[in-house]
């Protein structure tokens, strides 16, 4: 099993762990990956991957407008908004 780079995974997943969590997660992930590595011993030559459990493809719908824009209502659950915009810390100085 490759050495797991927890910092890299946390950057990809946008998570920040403190030192204690970092070590606990490393131990857990090592055990989880060791468990899933049982897969590597199983033969899957010439097997097509299965993405949808019924092998179905997603249905397309007609290109018609069915939803109304109701920004005010949808933004009620947002932590910070102003004039219909989502507020975040300054990105560009």
């Amino acid at each position: 099993m490759a050495n797991i780079d927890i910092n890299h995974l946390c950057r990809l997943a946008q998570l920040a762990l403190n030192d204690a969590e970092h070590e606990a997660v490393r131990g857990d992930l090592e055990r989880i990956i060791a468990m899933v590595d049982q897969m590597q011993a199983m033969n899957t030559d010439h097997v097509e991957p299965l993405a949808h459990p019924l092998d179905a493809s997603q249905r397309l719908r007609r290109d018609e407008v069915t939803e109304v824009v109701d920004r005010e209502r949808y933004q009620l659950g947002a932590p910070a908004t102003q004039d219909g915009l989502y507020l975040v810390p300054r990105v560009v100085e």
Binding site: D28, I32, V36, M39, M42, V47, A56, R61, Y74, G77
Partner: protein, 485 residues
């Protein structure tokens, strides 16, 4: 009033005028309050429930009642409910109120069912014990020192304790069947796509499926009938037409009257402990009712847990990227930058197990590992599906244990995620294959319920439910109830 009455009995009581829907709802609300220590509900919607019950009483008086009119129910807190908090058992959604109803919620409300509240669950449906809820663990009503199972543990424990006659659940790798087994109630996970996922917070989209937990197969059939069907708002909802399922809420479920071939997979029975004798007795019961038993093999069963934790982790890491501290839900205090806002909001908002799964999925999807993990897991998923398809060439249904044993003690497995994951060994394979499966009580071991799982071919809910009705006509395990306040 019998707190463990089926919804059929309650509907007859309402029509006879033995009680009104308002009286029925007050009765269950009082029971929820008296059993608050079980922690089965995250929110109780008393005011809304009494208004809806009064409306149902008017419908009943006009003689326009359907099979669910005025019947109380609870939704797992993963289904969006307009105007009522939907938390998914997570701090990140603690104060979030959905702007719309899930299709399941809308269907059952329009059938006249009265929402009592939203049930506790493992955070984002990730767990097998209900210990992963931000709102605290749920207690098993049969033994408060034990877990109710998960992730729909609040729903299963609430039905078992007689706090609601019926509850919805969701099942990604066993989250309806396993808690149903641990709590001694009946629960069905339908075929993937049978029920719309619209408005059901996503965990692993190729696996998630909504279902029902109740006292018997008859109740499951009624509720499933009224919540399933093609939904244009969910592009994975199936267009499979099933006139039986559409009409069974009105016509009622009949026990099956043909002798089915039932397969017992050797892989599921080989290491089985305390439940083995009970499952064998259940199989013999069906045999004496005219079914034929045979041993079958599902040779790729061992691949199910590894494949599942890669596929569901990968899908979870993608689905949960939407919780960013910007669009909805929890935001950390005083973010110093956008990056800091994302990272701290997610780290403070998600619990340990959710972070574990996100990181497992991120690992599997990261550059250099995709083929070895994600693609490999999808190939194994194909082999598991093919095992089932081959089995259904020989048999009509599969009978198996739902869980490796009875409900375990709270805290027993919390430090060992891999041991916790092994709890789902018998429910995950059917989930990966998208098959309908249900769990029924089939006996007790040291006073704790044991579940029997029936797995059917795609869209064979009729056979599953009718066979369950046959079993429940001949046994009374589903009529045993825990002693609660």
């Amino acid at each position: 009033m019998n707190e463990f009455a089926s919804i059929g009995e309650l509907a007859r009581g309402l029509r006879r005028g033995d009680y009104s829907s308002v009286e029925l709802v007050r009765h269950y609300l009082a029971r929820i309050q008296n059993n608050a220590s079980l922690n089965t509900f995250i929110s109780v919607t008393e005011d809304e429930a009494l208004i809806a019950a009064a409306k149902a009483d008017q419908t009943l008086q006009r003689g326009k009642a359907g099979p669910l009119t005025g019947i109380p129910l609870a939704h797992k807190d993963i289904f969006c409910t307009q105007g009522i908090p939907t938390t998914c058992g997570s701090r990140i959604l603690e104060n979030w109120i959905a702007p719309y109803d899930a299709t399941v919620v809308a269907c059952l409300a329009s059938a006249g069912a009265v929402l009592l509240g939203k049930t506790n669950m493992d955070e984002f449906a990730m767990g097998s014990s209900n210990e992963n809820s931000y709102f605290g663990a749920v207690l098993n009503p049969w033994d408060n020192s034990r877990v109710p199972g998960g992730s729909s543990g609040g729903s299963a424990a609430a039905v078992a304790a007689g706090l609601t006659p019926i509850a919805t659940g969701t099942d990604t790798g066993g989250s309806i069947r396993q808690p149903a087994a641990f709590c001694g109630v009946s629960g069905i996970k339908p075929t993937y796509g049978r029920v719309s996922r619209y408005g059901m917070a996503a965990f692993a989209s190729s696996l998630d499926q909504a279902g029902v937990i109740g006292h018997d197969a008859q109740d499951l059939a009624v509720v499933l009938s009224l919540m399933s069907g093609l939904d244009p708002r969910d592009s994975t909802s199936s267009d499979h037409v099933d006139s039986w399922l559409e009409s069974v809420a009105e016509s009622g479920l009949q026990p099956i009257n043909e002798g089915l071939n039932i397969g017992l997979p050797g892989e599921y029975f080989k290491d089985l402990g305390e439940g083995r004798a009970l499952l064998e007795a259940a199989a013999r019961e069906l045999e004496s009712a005219g079914c034929r038993l045979s041993e079958i093999s599902l040779p790729h069963t061992d691949a199910a847990i590894p494949a599942y934790y890669i596929i569901s982790g990968a899908e979870a890491s993608t689905n949960l990227s939407r919780y960013d501290g910007v669009h909805f839900g929890y935001r950390c205090e005083n973010p110093k930058s956008l990056q800091d806002l994302y990272q701290r909001s997610r780290s403070e908002g998600f619990g340990t197990e959710v972070k574990r799964r996100i990181l497992t999925g991120t690992y599997a999807l990261s550059v250099g590992y995709f083929d070895a993990y994600y693609l490999k897991a999808q190939k194994l998923r194909r082999l598991i599906q093919q095992d089932f398809l081959a089995a259904f060439e020989q048999v009509d249904l599969i009978l198996a244990p739902t869980t490796p044993g009875v409900a375990f003690h709270t805290g027993d497995l919390t430090g060992d995620p891999v041991a916790m994951y092994q709890q789902d060994i018998f429910t995950i394979p059917a989930s990966l294959a998208g098959l309908p499966a249900l769990s029924l009580p089939c006996g007790f071991s040291n006073g704790l319920p044991i579940g029997m799982q029936l797995i059917g071919a795609h869209f064979s809910e009729r056979q599953l439910l009718e066979t369950s009705a046959l079993y429940q006509q001949r046994t009374d395990w589903h009529q045993h109830h825990p002693e609660v306040a």
